[in-house]
Amino acid sequence: MNPAIALRDVRKSFGPTEIIRGLNLTVNRGERHAVIGPNGAGKSTMFHLISGRLQASSGVIELKGEDITGLRPYEINRRGLSRSFQITNIFPKLSVYENLRCAVLWSLGYRYAFWRFVDRLKDANERAEEVLEMIGLTARRDTPAGVLAYADQRALEIGVTIAGGADVIMLDEPTAGMSHAETEQAVALIRKVSEGRTLIMVEHDMGVVFGLADRISVLVYGQIIASDTPQAIRANPAVREAYLGEEAPA
């Protein structure tokens, strides 16, 4: 079977500065894959390239064997890839429930319909309720998303990402800025929502990374220097030198 995501010699320059410098990455289907690397290594840029927010300068990006290089974000999303954002990126004036319902509409085939009432779309409402419960925001159902507490916004961010049922999920620093207790909850949520799907995640919290990931890729200066199981990454001398250093968990 084709890998969920494959990047081949992908490059991205901003003006004269090359941020992604010949990146090769394979993410197998059904695995939880973490991408780690020092600040400025290009992790977020890589996410933007895969999800279509940025266009690669050269190289090929494949989603489930299909070339998605140069496609618009919505075209990539319709092919089954959904991502979250490092900085919360939700619909602030819409209620929590409305956020989730908007996120399920396309996948259920409602497109731009203006001849049916959204309240009467049984499947869309059921799916939105289901995700609402999964992310634990039932009590906040009718609150405008913009006034939620930070951790709740992060949960909604994940909810909006997974609501459409995409089978490849990309999470960009899902636990950034959270307290220890909030991080634990978020990890449990991520574990639950990535069940039976492919997960790619950028994360700085090494506890989260080594606790969740089946495989880890290390991105340094725009290149993947290693891509392996957590044990192998921990033992990899190049990785230790380039990134983990003394931060390496015992």
Binding site: S51, N77, F91, L94, E98, Y112, F114, D119, A163
Partner: protein, 419 residues
């Protein structure tokens, strides 16, 4: 709100439209209310862009005006050929025209949002206005295109000569358009418009093309503006270049904003209020445009949610009765506010009279029925004292209003507002 409450709301609107001419039977009132009906449709169509989809257009009158001209021509053709088309279906001609031009201009302008969209809408508006000046056969030059609504086939015996019949025709279409435009907000498309307004970037990552959402909103909005334009043609029996230009586009923006773009009912309130002021203020003072400008600035600065936003702010307090806690503070602030307003009006009227009319009419004028001499310093001094004292008083009273708000909200049972 539940479905039942929507039905009640719409029933109330229908009843209000039906009995309005009974309550206000004067011919001036019926003429004004006819215009209000047209403007309600126009402002609501504009708010599909501004309030629902987050698109600021400076050229919405293009679709209103072009559709109005198309409707006027259609009426003339139908009358000349004695075609079996009654007057009440003419708004459909306007809708088709609005839709047509919406598709053409929308394809150009909705590729981008934000400032680019606003600038393109302004450019298209100017383009069409300039084009209209040149194309005499269609736009009739300075005179415009006149038509006669009574020459069309009678509709169950009604010829729509008397204004009251036209009022009910406008009221019917107004009701239909309100219901349809409200229904649109409750569809998957309507919700995605809100999503595009809130955060266009994220919309692309849940499968939707923002450009397509904007385009569809634009086209539908132009279609409803077209209905309003056709009703204007029926109402005035005349379309001229003013209805297509930047001033008309600015007016519909003003109505939506003053009424409140954030609420569905906002533009309705705005259309009624602004039309009423236009009709009545222009009779009272020649400086009415200035008051309009000041009112707009005041709302933008102090009540950006418009009148509907202000009402919505008070609604929870009104429901649980805590509004009474605000009343003393409001009453206290109202006194200096009145002084501020009176002083401001006096200054404007004195200045306007002395600058514009004094040369021909002399320095005598009357404000609020009080005669005064604009050449004497006393009225100016009185106005200044009122204005400055009012401004000072408002500043002094404001902390009390804020304090009263704080206490009304902090009281148990109202936590929903600020939680």
């Amino acid at each position: 709100m539940t479905g039942m409450r929507y039905l009640l709301c719409f029933a109330a609107v229908a009843v209000a439209l039906l009995i309005a001419p009974v309550v206000f039977p004067s011919s001036v009132a019926i003429t004004t209310m006819s215009l209000m009906g047209v403007m309600i449709i126009f402002a609501l169509s504009y708010n599909m862009l501004l309030g629902q989809t987050g698109l600021l257009s400076f050229g919405h009158a293009v679709y209103y005006g072009l559709a109005g001209f198309c409707a006027a021509h259609a009426m003339n053709i139908i009358a000349a050929g004695k075609l079996p088309v009654p007057l009440p279906v003419i708004p459909l001609v306007g809708a088709a025209a609005g839709l047509f031009f919406g598709v053409i201009f929308g394809a150009v302008s909705t590729r981008r949002a934000g400032t680019v969209f606003a600038m393109i809408s302004l450019g298209l508006g100017e383009l069409v206005a300039a084009f209209a000046l040149v194309l005499h056969t269609f736009f009739g030059g300075e005179d415009g295109i006149s038509t006669n609504r009574t020459k069309l086939l009678a509709f169950f015996g009604y010829k729509f000569g008397p204004q009251i019949q036209v009022y009910y025709l406008i009221a019917f279409w107004c009701f239909v358009c309100i219901v349809l435009m409200y229904a649109l907000t409750r569809t998957p498309f309507g919700r995605m418009c809100n999503a595009v307004r809130d955060n266009p970037e994220r919309v692309e990552f849940i499968g939707y093309s923002t450009q397509r959402v904007r385009f569809q909103a634009f086209v539908l909005s132009a279609m409803f503006a077209g209905v309003a334009g056709a009703l204007a043609a029926i109402n005035f029996e005349l379309m001229n270049l003013q209805s297509i230009g930047a001033a008309a586009s600015g007016q519909v923006l003003l109505m939506s904003f003053v009424g409140g773009a954030g609420h569905f009912a906002g533009p309705v309130i705005g259309a009624i209020f602004v039309t009423f002021l236009q009709v009545s203020l222009s009779d009272i003072t020649k400086a009415w445009m200035l008051y309009f400008g000041l009112m707009f600035i005041f709302i933008v600065m102090y009540a950006p949610g418009g009148m509907a936003g202000w009402l919505a702010l008070h609604w929870p307090l009104l429901r649980n009765g805590r509004i009474v806690r605000l009343l003393p503070a409001y009453a206290l602030a109202a006194v200096p506010m009145l002084g501020l307003a009176l002083g401001g009006v006096m200054l404007i009227e004195l200045a306007h009279h002395m600058l514009v009319q004094a040369a021909s009419d002399g320095p005598q004028l009357s404000i609020f029925g009080i005669p005064m001499n604009g050449a004497s310093p006393w009225p100016w001094l009185a106005a200044l004292v009122l204005f400055a004292g009012g401004a000072f008083g408002v500043r002094a009273a404001w902390p009390r209003v804020a304090d009263a708000w704080g206490r009304a909200l902090a009281a148990p049972g109202t936590t929903k507002v600020n939680s």
